[in-house]
């Protein structure tokens, strides 16, 4: 323990040096901007700025990239709450209750809780990262394809079984998402599937156009269809801050979201997205007023936002402790380290104590910077809602088109977005929830790969999912959850 504290002191001496601090602030700021644009997620932000980091020292580069990563996670919540536009998949759950709160004039509270939840989750996860990185990392390696597959099944079932309406309807939406995810080149054999001769579909249906269409565009269509446009009540300044009751409702959600997100984040295989969806399901389950979910329950914002940030932090554990990436973003960060001549590997923490502890300390500082930057901005962002819909909606539409096109430079993606908007509007009218479609779409390739890898390992025997204890546990939990969800109807 004393050793850890001494190391942390070393870390802070690195992190609080003016140069590191400046790049930390720059990274957080760019990240927040990137997160707000619907097309650009943290991965795009980090990738674009990777070359800029080449001229910096390894510690400074890593701190800046981590700032972008974190900042994008924060930024994604802003557009989700204000405009129901998920900047990335992890923000989808925030859209539901966050935007409902905005319509009731509680946008300020939702934004503040999102920022505070993210801050608490980020800080607590860092303590976890610091104390537990080496032992947890070796545990994470026990998660092979069968365990990942079982975890993904559990994640999908949790959302479907905990969702608002009928479990069957939610499962149907999950399956729709999973099917959409199989479009494109089969990653294992290189065959084209369901692409109807369109070369552009070879790489599959992008998440961004679908999420923006199902949530942003469908929301605009739904609002425009109402005879009298209701305007969200713009709050007085003193109403921006969450009420005591809202804080009380959020506290437990933030705690549970943090633990859940951190644990899911450590597992290699990019299943982090499950964290925010599963957190929403759990909050709804433990809530005394589950009927308020979807109508602006603050726990539905606090839980997923915290889980999202904790997962982002947990994902760094295998990278720092073992030198193996647990997802696309840590992979880019490893690449950045390699360029700087730092070989990420199992001995990184011993070989480069100043780098590791400086990084940990800089993340603490970064969390603080983000909180300080985001809370004052809440008031500014809420002003956006004062703009009449006649002006705001065309602007949002333009924003969607621009963001989606910028992300891929493909006109096909714009058609997919428009189609998803129309379908999303129809599904809403018919009482289907569309969040499971997004989760299914994101998880489909991972689920399929893990499934096929598991069966390759076991020579085609399905017993592999029940013979391994961790996988069996997840599968059992999924079965119980499904049975419970069906019985509840």
């Amino acid at each position: 323990m004393t050793e850890t504290l001494a190391n942390l002191a070393l870390g802070f001496s690195v992190a609080l040096s003016p140069q590191v601090l400046i790049y930390c602030v720059i990274g957080c700021f760019i990240g927040t901007l990137v997160g707000m644009l619907p097309g650009l997620g943290p991965l795009a932000g980090i990738s674009l700025l990777l070359p800029v980091s080449f001229g910096l020292s390894p510690t400074v580069a890593l701190v800046m990239l981590a700032g972008i990563y974190y900042g994008a996670m924060y930024g994604g919540s802003t557009t989700s709450i204000l405009m129901r536009l998920p900047g990335e998949a992890a923000s989808v759950m925030t859209c539901i209750d966050g935007h409902a709160m905005a319509r009731q004039g509680r946008a300020g509270a939702a934004l503040a809780i999102a920022a505070i939840g993210s801050f608490v989750a980020g800080t607590l996860s860092l303590v976890g990262l610091m104390l537990l990185a080496p032992p947890l990392a070796s545990l994470a390696l026990k998660f092979g394809p069968p365990e990942q597959c079982a975890l993904l099944v559990l994640g999908l079932v949790v959302l479907a079984a905990m969702g608002g309406g009928s479990v069957l309807k939610s499962l149907a939406m999950t399956v729709l998402g999973l099917w959409l995810g199989t479009i494109g080149i089969d990653q294992m054999s290189g065959f084209f599937r369901f692409q109807f001769g369109l070369v552009e579909l070879g790489d599959g249906i992008g998440l961004v156009p679908v999420a923006v269409g199902l949530f942003g565009i469908a929301e605009i269509l739904a609002s425009a269809g109402k005879p009298q446009l209701e305007r969200p009540r713009t709050p007085a300044f003193r109403e921006l801050w969450p009420s005591r009751r809202e804080f009380a409702d959020s506290a437990g959600a933030i705690g549970r979201g943090t633990v859940l997100g951190f644990l899911i984040g450590i597992i290699p295989g990019s299943a982090h997205i499950v964290a925010s969806f599963a957190s929403y399901g759990i909050e709804k389950r433990v809530s005394k007023t589950p009927e308020r979910f979807g109508q602006g329950a603050i726990a539905g914002v606090a839980g997923p936002e915290s889980a999202n940030n904790a997962a982002a932090c947990g994902a760094l554990v295998p990278m720092l402790a073992l030198g193996v990436p647990s997802g696309a973003i840590p992979a880019v960060m490893i690449a950045a380290l390699v360029v700087h001549g730092v070989a990420p590997g199992p001995t990184l923490i011993q070989d480069q104590p100043a780098l590791f502890w400086g990084f940990v300390a800089a993340m603490y500082v970064g969390n603080l910077v983000l909180l300080a930057m985001n809370l004052p901005l809440v008031g500014v962002f809420v002003q956006l809602l004062r703009i009449p819909y006649a002006y705001l909606y065309p602007a949002i539409l333009a924003f969607c088109v621009l963001g989606v096109y910028a992300a891929s430079q493909s006109a096909v993606d714009l058609w997919i977005m428009a189609g998803a908007g129309a379908v999303g509007y129809g599904l809403r009218k018919a009482g289907f929830e569309t969040a499971p479609v997004v989760l299914g779409l994101v998880l489909s390739p991972m689920l399929e790969n893990a499934w096929r890898q598991s069966l390759a390992m076991s020579d085609g025997s399905y017993a592999v999912f029940v013979q391994r204890p961790i996988a069996a546990g997840f599968m059992l939990a999924a079965a119980v959850m499904l049975a419970w969800g069906m019985r509840r109807r």
């Binding site: 674009l48 070359p51 880019v332």
Partner: protein, 322 residues
Amino acid sequence: MIRFAFAAILAALAVPALAQGAFPDRPIAMIVPFPPGGVADQTARPVAAAMEKALKQPVVLANRQGAGGAVGMAATAAARPDGYTIMTALSSISVIPEADKLFERKPAYTMDQFAPLALISSDPTVLVVNAERPWKSVAELVADAKARPGQISFSSSGVYGTLHMATEMFAHAAQVKFKHVPFNGAGPAMTALLGGHVDILASGPGVVLPQIKAGKVRALAGWGAKRLDVMPELPTFKELGFDIEFYIWAGVFAPAATPAPILETLRRAIAQGVKDPDFVAAMEKAGTPVAYLDAPEFKKFWDTDAARLAKALRAIGKVEGG
């Protein structure tokens, strides 16, 4: 993407100036058919920076990933052959057309659509096993694999990816059968080996070296014609009596119809660039030592390598459903 758009805008603005002045009089776009952070990207960035100095024009990177690199390679093949679009690609450039043939698909591109400019690096793959597995030598591994065919498993970066091809080449030469568990990329393949979910893996020296140093994996042999400088005690397969070679290499290409004088200018820029101390330092830091070959030698190297890969691919045959 943004940078690509930027380059395109710069290029468009410069169009009126076309046909006057010597090549290059505007920025050059270098396509990388893989995402940022991979081997191709890590090689292309220092190359682009070194070429910039020699050409006195910006060389702007554009990551056009997708379909295992086929998207970016097809885009280069179809680009206007004026020297303003070049590409840094990996050995998989020779595998994709062969796989298309195997599956009787319309090819995304053919290899004669490219003019090779220079080979930048080539690293032989290294065979490693999880340190908790019993095998201490290739002979022990082969004996065990013969005793229980299809039981010993290996991970790879994907079907027909470099790591898959290298392992199958070895399996074919040793007349054994391993169980294939494909992943997406060399990183996840290593994670699976470390977790003990698979038994063996072939990967580049940069990936395996830190894990060897930490004692998590054990190296058995290398695929090079001669031993690696960084692992002088590691035998090559050739020394062990297996006549196989496999390299993960990166080279620079232009569309085939690019006029000869322009190709000449680009070649000279690379030749000058690879001597740049900044370039050498950047490559060494990234763990990929420079193995420069000028266009004629690179062409020979490429032809030999492509023939080797085509043979290995036909030996593997169609992989149905993984």
